[in-house]
């Protein structure tokens, strides 16, 4: 059964879209990842224009992060003060990203930017996951310890920065510039790639800011909720790239998939699944890279034309 997507201006098989949403939702629940970094490239493979895939994805991430942040708020694991600073930077980054998106769209480089961005990020994320999973349990602990031992005390440059702020919940007294800059980088990624950016923000909050681990996830989800919401709003207003029909279809199944995935997560052995997810991520990256490197079937392409 085909359904017409009004903004993407194409019809797709409804079961294909529902299947994608369900599988990615399941994986995101299983691994506790946002799923945006898988969904956007998969939508592109299905034939959704990359711009619409990215814009729609930012709206979809709102849904998954809202339910996450609510759960963390109930447990008191959110540093609102830190979240506000991260969000402030994120909104600025998102605005810059959406404008850059618009510029790249006009000059015809947006598809390449999205693909290239994904090849780099998926390659890095998949590579790290693979490296951490493959040697098994014996090698993993020393790696984590080595990283964790690099406490905030070593970042002397960071403490020389002005605009110091006290973050009570995180028990930190640091310059607001650092979290704002982290938030901004994440906002840029949301706008250009349609990912939540948690995979970048969480390590930065732990190792760079030195935040206590129990508030990191909740606080990052708070930032992701607001920044993806603002990005969705901007993408819809400036680039007209949010397809609400596609977003709702994906949402309907993804939220269920995520809940089922979260329930399964405790029952299945993580080690093997982690390797499988890493393999999947690398496969998607490889497929995108192949398209960039191989000689295209037709070197010519038609861009978005304006109606005179």
């Amino acid at each position: 059964m085909q359904i017409y997507l009004p903004i993407a201006e194409m019809s797709v098989n409804i079961f294909l879209v529902l299947g994608l949403g369900g599988v990615v939702g399941l994986l995101s629940g299983l691994f506790g990842v946002g799923g945006g970094f898988l969904m956007t490239p998969l939508l592109i493979f299905v034939g959704i224009p990359p711009g619409v895939a990215v814009g729609t994805q930012s709206v979809q991430i709102v849904a998954s992060s809202v339910s996450g942040v609510l759960a963390h708020m109930r447990r008191g694991n959110v540093d609102f003060h830190m979240g506000a600073v991260l969000t402030g930077g994120g909104v600025l980054g998102s605005l810059l990203g959406v404008l850059l998106f618009n510029l790249l769209k006009q000059t015809g480089h947006i598809d390449l930017t999205i693909s290239l961005g994904y090849v780099i990020f998926l390659g890095a994320v998949g590579g790290f996951m693979m490296m951490e999973s493959l040697p098994g349990a014996m090698k993993r602990k020393p790696v984590n310890l080595a990283l964790a031992s690099r406490g905030p005390g070593q970042h002397m440059w960071m403490h020389g920065l002005p605009f110091k702020m006290r973050f009570r919940r995180s028990k930190l007294y640091v310059s607001a510039i650092v979290p704002a800059a982290i938030g901004m980088l994440v906002g840029l990624l949301v706008a250009l790639m349609g990912v939540g950016g948690g995979f970048l923000m969480v390590p930065a909050m732990i190792y760079l800011l030195g935040m206590p681990t129990q508030v990191v996830i909740g606080t990052s989800l708070l930032q992701i909720t607001f920044v993806t919401a603002v990005t969705g709003l901007l993408q819809a207003s400036i680039n007209h790239s949010v397809d609400v029909v596609l977003a709702v279809l994906l949402l309907l199944v993804a939220v269920f998939g995520a809940q089922i995935g979260a329930r399964l997560a405790g029952k299945i052995k993580g080690e093997h699944l982690r390797i499988m997810l890493a393999a999947l991520v690398l496969l998607v990256a490889f497929r995108l890279a192949l398209e960039l490197v191989l000689t295209p079937a037709d070197v010519f392409s038609i861009g978005d034309g304006e109606t005179p």
Binding site: M1, Q2, I3, Y4, P6, I7, E9, M10, S11, V59, Q60, V62, A63, S64, S65, V66, S67, G68, L70, A71, G108, H109, L112, L116, T225, A229, G232, L233, L234, Q235, A236, S237, I238, H240, V242, V244, V245, A247, V248, L251, L252, V255, F256, A258, Q259, L292, V293, T295, P296, D298, V299, F300, S301, I302, G303, D304, G305, E306, T307, P308
Partner: protein, 247 residues
């Protein structure tokens, strides 16, 4: 009105008691409005008509004109990057030509070119002057080739069926991703390599129903559309977590 005309023509011809009348060519479409609904997967529209005697028929369908930026990928290190580009102004977004026999057997090239009949006769003007003619030609061919692949351009030589040299019909295909707007279906009657008569039938392709309303809202009220989309997503996320907390 046109349909009645056609019926009248049919009746006249069927009885064949009356001689050829004043109008040498009549044509009409089975449908004047193609509605793109949520389940739209493309459609065929039947063009039919009658002539007052032997002749050749060429049918040209033109979609709304748009500016078309064409880009050529070039190697940049290991990857392919969009390099040089040519912007053509007012190129038909959709173009379909059908005739009862090859165009060169119907009319001289000069005439076909003047009326832009045939894929190689579509006028494409670059927006900047002083471009290398060979380069423009290469980009022009690329537009035709890409549009052919997308099924937005087509050349159906022999696709027009002529019956008893009087009645003709042809199917016009519109794919799922057909651009919206006002289309012009031009029907030409050729005799001895000259245009004897021509008729233009308009055809409207528009989005109808929920999809159309969403599209209009998304473009005319973009910030509100964005806000509603985001709120919808937030509500769905909240509802899901609330629902699953109880189970």
């Amino acid at each position: 009105m046109k349909r009645r005309f056609f019926l009248a023509a049919l009746v006249i011809m069927a009885s064949s008691t009356v001689k050829a009348q004043d109008v040498p060519l009549v044509a009409d479409l089975s449908n004047h409005l193609v509605a793109i609904t949520t389940g739209f997967t493309g459609t065929d529209v039947l063009l039919f008509g009658a002539t007052d005697g032997p002749g050749d028929i060429a049918v040209v369908v033109r979609g709304p004109a748009t500016d078309v930026p064409v880009r050529r990928k070039e190697r940049f290190g290991p990857i392919w990057v969009n390099g040089s580009s040519v912007d053509f102004v007012e190129v038909p977004s959709y173009y379909r030509v059908a005739s009862n026999k090859p165009l060169e057997d119907i009319a001289p090239q000069l005439l076909l070119s003047r009326f832009q009949i045939g894929l190689e006769n579509i006028r494409m003007t670059p927006d900047q002057e002083e471009l290398d003619a060979e380069l423009v030609q290469e980009f022009r061919e690329a537009v035709v080739r890409l549009k052919l692949n997308e099924d937005l351009y087509d050349e159906g030589l022999g696709a027009v069926n002529l019956m008893s040299n009087r009645l003709f019909r042809t199917e016009l295909h519109f794919p799922a991703h057909v651009p919206t707007g006002t289309y012009l279906v031009e029907v030409y009657l050729f005799r001895n390599g000259q245009i004897t008569s021509a008729e233009i039938v308009p055809l409207t392709i528009s989005k109808i129903g929920v999809g159309a309303e969403i599209y209009d809202f998304a473009y005319n009220w973009a910030p509100f559309y964005g806000l509603i989309s985001v709120l919808l997503a937030a509500a769905a996320g909240w509802a899901a977590s609330a629902a699953f907390r109880r189970i």
